[in-house]
């Protein structure tokens, strides 16, 4: 990803010199100081021990665009070992009869606020927007995550094995998002996806200007863009000072006191959490995820990205993404979208039910079904099914093996975790869902969910239906979804 970008930037640099306008992209140095992405809050995630599992005779959607009928999937030591027919199970393997059932990679939601806007929606739980300043690149969503949010487990029952928890969209630059493995844990560090890059949440349009319109601005879309530019100008300068390891100048005997090494110039001065994050984004180590509805605003953000030399991983909510699907595909930018939501505000007025299908259509199109909702995250498969049906009606036939990528491979790609998960391929994390049937049906249930080869949820086995601390003693026991109310 970074290599082609660097080439493009070099070309831009030349142009910039000719026309004599400043170009901040030129400043991005090649060396990457680990400091921008150091993690003082490291993952403590531990794989749950599990015997090998062999699922046999299932319809397997690999997430790579392939469908295998009557196929087996073997998991061992937390990894996918093989997918094929007549696989031999190790002696100690648990065999799961997959006949009549479907197997997919674990589902991945690129846009969630579980934990930061948890259930119950108490006043004390509004931890998703640091709406005190329009640029809060310094905040990290993970520091707001409440691991006891019952929504995590409801999402698990819907087949979600990984998710990105993002700050809200009140701010131009809202802060860092975190990628979690969807396993029950007492701390968020216990869920933190080992080695996953952070996301940077930005927002276009109505939200920031509404939140800050009477709080010092921005109050307009032009104010929004000026705000992003100012922040990235600061980040570029910061990167110039901090991008390369520099040794402080030694003071020579002939130098006077006035010629003291300028610590600011040499070391970049005091560390700035805000600029660390933006510098990490420019360097491509933090994935940029932008809440942006309108096609024209997405185009502006693509130009902004070029101006400062960062890459947009995905536009989120883009209800108008279908209007510039070709450009998104050409630039390798994903569209993380809803199946059918529209009309709740002006910038959402042009929503259509074929949006995801049209973003998926061009060569290299990267369509993602996202939720942004504790309800929607429980059934990304149904959201995808609605898109398939409406695409079909519009003359675009999309087979299950293609659509499943919208909720597995493509989100993994946009989050920078595709090498570890998102598809069923030997060597990857054994994040797997066994469905009662074709998952693109309202009647399909995630019967078993595996994270790193461990059966973390089983619809038919109470002993594998985790419950949040919050729900204990509330007079309810899990229903068959393993989620909430039941007769004591």
């Amino acid at each position: 990803m970074l290599r082609p970008l660097a080439v493009a930037l070099a070309a831009t640099f030349t142009t910039a010199l000719i026309i004599g306008t400043p170009n901040y992209a030129q400043a991005a140095p090649d060396t990457q100081p680990a400091r921008f992405t150091q993690d003082p809050y490291p993952s403590t995630y531990r794989v749950i021990a599990s015997a090998p599992v062999l699922i046999t005779g299932a319809t397997v959607l690999t997430g790579t665009g392939t469908r295998l009928d009557d196929a087996d999937v073997l998991m061992r030591d937390g990894r996918i070992v093989a997918i094929g027919t007549d696989l031999e199970a190790p002696a100690d393997a648990t065999r799961v009869d997959g006949s009549g059932k479907w197997v997919t990679p674990g589902l991945i939601d690129v846009h969630s606020h579980l934990g930061v806007y948890p259930s119950p929606g108490a006043k004390a739980h509004g931890d998703g927007n640091e709406s005190t300043a329009p640029v809060t690149a310094n905040v990290w969503a993970e520091h707001s995550v409440w691991p006891q949010d019952p929504g995590f487990l409801a999402a698990m029952a819907g087949g979600i094995t990984s998710l990105q928890v993002l700050p809200g969209s009140a701010n131009l630059i809202g802060g860092r998002g975190v990628t979690l493995k969807n396993v029950p844990a007492t701390t968020y560090q216990g869920m933190k996806f080992p080695g996953a890059p952070w996301g940077l949440k930005m927002a276009c349009g109505e939200n920031p200007k509404r939140v800050y319109g009477e709080k010092g601005g921005p109050s307009t879309r032009m104010g929004n863009v000026a705000g992003y530019r100012a922040a990235f100008i600061d980040a570029t300068e910061y990167l110039n000072k901090n991008g390369k390891e520099s040794t402080p100048k030694k003071k020579r005997w002939w130098q006077s006191d006035e010629e003291k090494a300028d610590s600011d110039a040499d070391s970049g001065g005091k560390r700035d959490l805000k600029l660390d994050t933006l510098a990490g984004a420019i360097q491509g180590d933090i994935k940029v995820h932008i809440h942006c509805y309108r096609a024209d605003e997405m185009a502006t953000m693509l130009d902004l990205a070029k101006e400062f030399g960062f890459k947009v991983a995905a536009f989120h909510h883009g209800v108008e993404a279908y209007k510039l699907a070709d450009r998104l595909a050409a630039e390798g930018v994903c569209g993380a979208l809803w199946a059918d939501w529209w009309g709740f505000k002006m910038e959402a007025f042009d929503g259509i039910q074929e949006n995801i299908a049209l973003v998926d259509r061009p060569q290299n199109g990267c369509a993602i079904v996202h939720s942004d909702s504790d309800e929607g995250i429980q059934r990304l498969n149904q959201e995808a099914a609605k898109v398939m049906a409406h695409a079909q009606q519009a003359g675009i036939a999309i087979p299950p093996e293609r659509a499943i990528r919208w909720i597995t491979q493509n989100p993994a790609k946009s989050m920078g975790i595709l090498e570890q998960t998102g598809t069923l391929e030997a060597g990857k994390m054994a994040d797997v869902v066994l469905w009662s049937g074709n998952p693109f049906s309202v009647y399909a249930h995630a019967e078993q969910v595996y994270v790193d080869g461990a059966r973390v949820f089983d619809r038919g086995d109470r002993s594998r239906q985790p419950q949040s601390d919050f729900m204990l003693g509330q007079g309810v026991v899990p229903d068959s979804m393993g989620v909430a109310g039941g007769v004591r």
């Binding site: 119950p120 108490a122 009140a170 809440h291 209007k323 939501w341 259509i352 049906s441 109310g485």
Partner: protein, 469 residues
């Protein structure tokens, strides 16, 4: 979150139209002061018949032949059945019916259902939820939630706009009628006002009798009654004192206008339907006592914990409109929320309907029913919750909500199982008229479905008619 808006909205979305909901959103979120027989084949045959020329399509006698007819009546599902439509009404349901001069549609075995209920919504009352100037579903005469202004006479149907773009968007997905809601808001009271059933056929006036909306419980409703839900019963009893004359109209304590007194009186003592938004079991228990004491015909909207009182609700013949997707403890009134709510209520004999509270996405109603069925509700009851149950509960059951002789021919032909997410509506008839299967969204879709290749060569932008590009 308003009980009428039973959807769990995302941070972004819309919980839109009500100030009340917006306030709650503010707490939770950032929001500040905020074609088988192909479709093509069907369309062609209808075009030939001249039935799809405009929204003013004229009623025509139609014989829909060879359908899987889900009647949503005691007759259940009829295989390979015919439905004869005459003068906008269903004339006969059976097999081997003769067409006479009626246009014949071959359904090729596809499912035919009554047109569906869109839930309690603000279709035609709001265009863009976050733009106050386009929303009319709430009344807020007072400045804050401390200014209680009780106006049961407030009637949202007077603001209904049959030309809203939301109508065709919902209609092409098989939605044929909805209950317009009057949603309580700060500056109003827990009594939101009145609404009524409207049909999405473009007619200007409500189709059903007036329905009164009341909201109870914690969170939003409690803020409207001095921060305690206990005061909700105090207020309701005080209002009954007023309409009974125990509080003179001139009293400083009087809250109602003369019109308000006469309107509210119509709902007390076996009168019109009162839809009560409420979730918590303890509140539902109090509601049952209160409604029995005053002989109020209630229906419950929301009811996340209604399953806990299923036998009592069945005995009191209270229909419950649930959102089966609301399975999380969204607040402390919904700790018992479960996807099995609908199934448990129905098993106890409760009439179960569905409501989402989302006007723009009312088409999602089918997904609610499908998920209820996936979680234990019998399929026929899933369909009933979208047809017969709401029609009967809101006073239009004699004309809507079923396929039977004498009822209006509000019908939908589906590509497959109507409760499935992978199914689409192929043709909608309202009052026997074939509705154009077009909306603002299909227009946008078709504009961008085409390649923009001509533009590369300097051709006209998409904004020009396709024919000249």
């Amino acid at each position: 979150m308003s009980r009428f808006n039973t959807a769990r909205h995302s941070r972004e979305g819309g919980n839109p139209a009500t100030l009340l909901a917006r306030r709650i959103s503010h707490q939770r979120h950032w929001v500040p002061a905020f074609a088988g027989m192909t479709v093509r084949g069907l369309v062609v045959s209808l075009l030939t018949a001249g039935a799809l020329l405009s929204t003013n399509a004229t009623a025509q006698d139609v014989l829909i032949r060879n359908a899987t007819v889900h009647t949503a009546t005691a007759r259940g599902t009829l295989q390979n059945a015919d439905v004869l439509v005459r003068d906008g009404r269903i004339a006969a349901v059976g097999s081997g019916l003769t067409a006479g001069n009626a246009q014949v549609i071959d359904a090729q075995g596809k499912p035919l259902t009554p047109a569906l209920f869109g839930g309690i919504s603000e279709i035609g009352l709001e265009e863009v939820s976050a733009e106050d100037a386009t929303t009319d579903g709430t009344l807020a005469l007072g400045l804050t939630d401390k200014d209680m202004v009780v106006r049961p006479e407030f009637d949202v149907t007077l603001a209904y706009n049959p030309e809203s773009v939301l109508l065709p968007v919902a209609r092409v997905e098989g939605i044929g009628f909805t209950l317009l809601g009057a949603i309580p808001a700060p500056g109003g009271s827990i009594i939101g006002g009145q609404g009524a059933v409207i049909r999405l056929d473009g007619s200007a006036d409500p189709f059903g009798p007036k329905v009164l909306f009341v909201e109870l419980g914690g969170n939003s409703a409690a803020t409207l009654t001095g921060s305690s839900r206990a005061a909700q019963w105090m207020l309701l009893d005080q209002l009954i004192d007023e309409i009974r004359g125990r509080i003179p109209p001139a009293s400083d304590l009087a809250l109602l206008t003369p019109s308000g007194r006469s309107v509210l009186a119509r709902y007390i003592g076996g009168g019109g339907r009162v839809v009560v938004g409420v979730h918590r079991a303890a509140d539902i228990r109090q509601l049952l006592r209160w409604s029995q004491r005053h002989d109020v015909r209630i229906a419950i909207a929301g009811g996340s914990e209604a399953w806990k009182l299923a036998p009592q609700l069945a005995a009191a013949k209270v229909p419950v409109f649930v959102n089966p997707l609301a399975n999380l403890p969204a607040d402390f009134d919904q700790l018992g929320a479960t996807m099995e709510n609908a199934a448990r209520l129905r098993a106890a004999g409760v009439e179960v309907g569905f409501t989402l509270g989302d006007s723009h996405n009312a088409r999602k109603m089918r997904q609610l029913a499908g998920n209820a069925v996936a979680n234990g509700l019998p399929w026929e009851d899933g369909l009933a919750g979208l047809t017969r149950v709401p029609a009967e509960a809101f006073g239009v059951g004699d004309r809507l909500g079923g396929i039977a002789p004498g009822k209006l021919a509000d019908l939908v032909l589906w590509s497959g199982d109507p409760l499935e997410v992978n199914t689409v509506a192929q043709q909608v008839w309202l009052g026997g008229k074939a509705m154009p299967m077009r909306s603002r969204q299909t227009e946008l879709r078709d504009r961008y479905l085409r390649s923009d290749a001509t533009r590369e060569g300097g051709g006209l932008p998409r904004a020009y008619p396709a024919a000249v590009r």
